[in-house]
């Protein structure tokens, strides 16, 4: 009865750990629920849920398990799909031509079609080629032989599952998953260069002992300076346009760097599509600083991190006047500006939110990567970028 609550919470993506569950059992053993549903509700909520954002999900799961509430929508969908997939069949083989054709099916397309199927499918379909079912050549279901389909099973047989929907048991172990603010913060903390600075107010024990010995026991206190991180960080972010899907990610990076209180100095600028003669401090109000000034002011002393997909039209990078930006007057190409930036900042890195496997699909990405060491905007990529910046 109680385990149902645990599984419902997990299904609703509330991060409940086994430790917390055991704590709840300990509480129950001590009788803290006081034989009342209301007390049990507060007891379990305070031990299992650690963020007010999940209170709602908890209420849904609790109502489902103990008050005959309706199953929340996404959970209901999942149960329905799993029901269709009962009693699976073995895969039907593909011919080689069919395989080649199907491999070309991109993920977006797969997801779009899956949505359609979810809307239209009413019952189980096994051994077929269209519906969500088992043993068929349809891209959706389990035990299918589709080479790039979406699997709903944790055990991968048949084809190569492009997306293991609902069976993401190892999600938290993946090293390249997108980051939350805290993880970014921890990664950025590795970016440091400790040097002595500030007033002499920290007692240097070794020097004091040394000096005192030389003074034949007459105590002489030696004070040193505190070690402080000397890293100055300049964050330049692509904003709007093709970056819109990654805005959330960029914002998280910004708030992590901003809230860290770790760098000697931290500045952020924005650009659109490509860096030209101006860098914006505020995109909405068109406040900007000339890029040349930024290079003069911050070059050499600052570490430069650019965040952008670098996926632009080749003309935006290579053609003089190749942009729609309002204030463009000079005829210097975006590529030239990037080259100057790369000269001005010996310590630099480019973080790209696009998955690394997509980079070669855009002509401009390898060009930009030639100027800036490029890393994917994932935990692992960020770690590599930080090492590069040292």
């Amino acid at each position: 009865m109680f385990l149902a609550l645990y599984h419902s919470l997990r299904a609703l993506k509330v991060p409940v750990s086994l430790t917390e569950w055991l704590t709840l059992l300990e509480g129950l053993a001590k009788g803290l629920h006081n034989d009342s549903l209301e007390d049990f509700y507060y007891l379990s909520r305070s031990l299992l849920v650690k963020d007010v954002a999940y209170y709602d999900a908890f209420d849904q799961a609790f109502a489902y398990c103990f008050k005959d509430g309706a199953l929340p929508d996404d959970l209901a969908t999942r149960e329905k799909i799993l029901e269709w997939l009962q009693d699976p069949r073995m895969p039907r083989p593909f011919s080689q031509e069919e395989l080649d054709r199907l491999k070309a099916l991109p993920l977006d397309e797969l997801l779009r079609q899956l949505e359609e199927r979810l809307r239209d499918q009413k019952e189980a379909h096994n051994g077929g080629k269209k519906w969500i079912g088992s043993g068929g050549t349809s891209p959706y279901g389990i035990n299918g032989s589709h080479p790039s389909g979406i699997s709903f099973s944790a055990e991968r047989q048949g084809g190569r599952a492009a997306l293991q929907a609902f069976a993401r048991r190892y999600r938290n172990l993946r090293h390249d998953l997108t980051l939350d603010v805290r993880q970014i913060g921890v990664a950025l903390k590795r970016l440091r260069d400790l040097r002595d600075s500030g007033a002499e107010e920290i007692l240097d024990m070794d020097a004091t002992i040394e000096k005192t010995c030389r003074n034949a026991g007459e105590i002489d206190l030696i004070f040193g300076r505190e070690r402080e991180n000397q890293v100055r960080l300049l964050l330049v972010m692509d904003s709007g346009g093709s970056m819109e899907p990654y805005r959330d990610l960029s914002e998280r990076l910004f708030s992590a760097a901003h809230g860290l209180n770790h760098f000697k100095d931290f500045r952020a600028f924005y650009f659109h599509n490509c860096v030209y003669e101006n860098l914006y401090t505020n995109m909405e109000t068109d406040e900007f600083v000339p890029t040349a000034e930024v290079m003069r002011e911050y070059g050499k002393n600052y570490r430069l991190v650019i965040v952008g997909d670098a996926a632009m039209s080749p003309y935006e990078l290579m053609t003089p006047h190749g942009t729609l930006e309002r204030y463009r007057t000079s005829s210097v190409t975006g590529h030239e500006w990037l080259r100057q930036l790369s000269d001005a900042f010996p310590k630099r890195a480019w973080l790209n939110p696009l998955p690394e496997t997509y980079w070669n699909q855009y002509e401009t990405v390898p060009t930009v990567a030639g100027l800036f060491p490029m890393f994917p905007l994932t935990l692992e990529g960020l770690g590599r970028a930080v090492r590069q910046l040292h």
């Binding site: 750990s17 917390e20 001590k30 209301e38 031990l47 650690k50 963020d51 209170y55």
Partner: protein, 292 residues
């Protein structure tokens, strides 16, 4: 372990605790885990610790966390400079290093011998690794003093209350060990109970009017900082002290509310309010009951 009974905290005369809050406090005490409190500023997170101490008749030890606070500071510091100075001028008992070990708040809570309430206030102000650095100490309720090679161990596990304003996200490992509660903003009935605790002689009429204006203010859209319980209490205190009257009628105008500055503290919000008050009557906003 604990011989204290469950259901021991029920709020105090000076603090109205909701059923949920009472329950989580008692759960935290019984399971001997830190209680993590979050909630809007001014909902009484810090105050709760004081009243738990009062209700359970325990001493309270405060640890106000600042951006420069290190986990070590909470345990102990070894005052080398004092010791060297004493050695030089022949003061004090220099031979015994214990004289120069000074316990921090956590250290005092462990060493006290009695069960105490330890309040770690605004834990999110410190470095992001700060809560992680305390995991061992809070789990085991003991720590090692390097200089004397001794362990300081709590005979009675303190009741640990941790408050956070969510400025930074707390690490999962820390969260897993906590009992968590989000203090909701009190509804009007609860608020009346709270006011009554603080001002038992407040007339029904003044109470009604004050609540109406207060909750009306909180409903004004676009406020950067909505007035909180503590500000309402301050405001009522000023009203009583000055003897000022609250305006009559169901829809008081903004200008007629005395000492508005006690409730609304940001210049920007004052402007939002006057814009809101001066806007033309509009059917779409007819649901907003105040300052029309």
């Amino acid at each position: 372990m604990s011989n204290l009974q469950f259901h021991q905290f029920r709020g105090t005369e000076g603090y109205v605790a909701s059923r949920a809050l009472q329950d989580v406090v008692n759960v935290a005490i019984a399971l001997e885990r830190p209680l993590l409190l979050k909630g809007e500023p001014g909902t009484g997170k810090t105050l709760l610790a004081h009243h738990i101490a009062e209700a359970l008749d325990m001493e309270i030890i405060l640890w106000n966390v600042k951006s420069t606070t290190k986990a070590r500071d909470g345990l102990y510091t070894y005052d080398t400079v004092q010791r060297l100075n004493d050695a030089r001028f022949g003061d004090g008992d220099v031979k015994d290093i214990r004289h120069y070990i000074k316990y921090g708040p956590l250290g005092r809570a462990f060493a006290s011998g009695k069960r105490v309430v330890l309040l770690i206030d605004e834990v999110d102000k410190a470095d992001i690794e700060f809560p992680n650095d305390l995991l061992f100490e809070l789990d085991e309720m003991r720590f090692h003093v390097l200089e004397t090679d001794e362990w300081v161990k709590a005979d009675q596990r303190p009741v640990v209350i941790v408050t956070s304003n969510s400025e930074k996200e707390l690490p999962d490992a820390f969260l897993r060990r906590c009992v968590f509660h989000y203090i909701d903003f009190p509804d009007e009935a609860q608020m009346r109970a709270i006011i009554e605790v603080h001002f038992p002689d407040l007339g029904v009429e003044l109470m009604g009017k004050a609540c109406k204006i207060f909750f009306g203010l909180r409903e004004v859209p676009g406020l950067r900082k909505r007035p909180s319980t503590s500000e309402l209490l301050d405001w009522i205190r000023v009203l009583l002290a000055s003897g000022a009257k609250l305006p009559e009628g169901d829809v008081p105008s903004l200008e007629s509310v005395p000492f508005l500055g006690a409730l609304v503290k940001m210049q920007e919000d004052t402007e939002t309010l006057s814009r809101h008050a001066n806007r033309p009557a509009d059917v779409r906003t007819a649901g907003r009951r105040f300052f029309s």
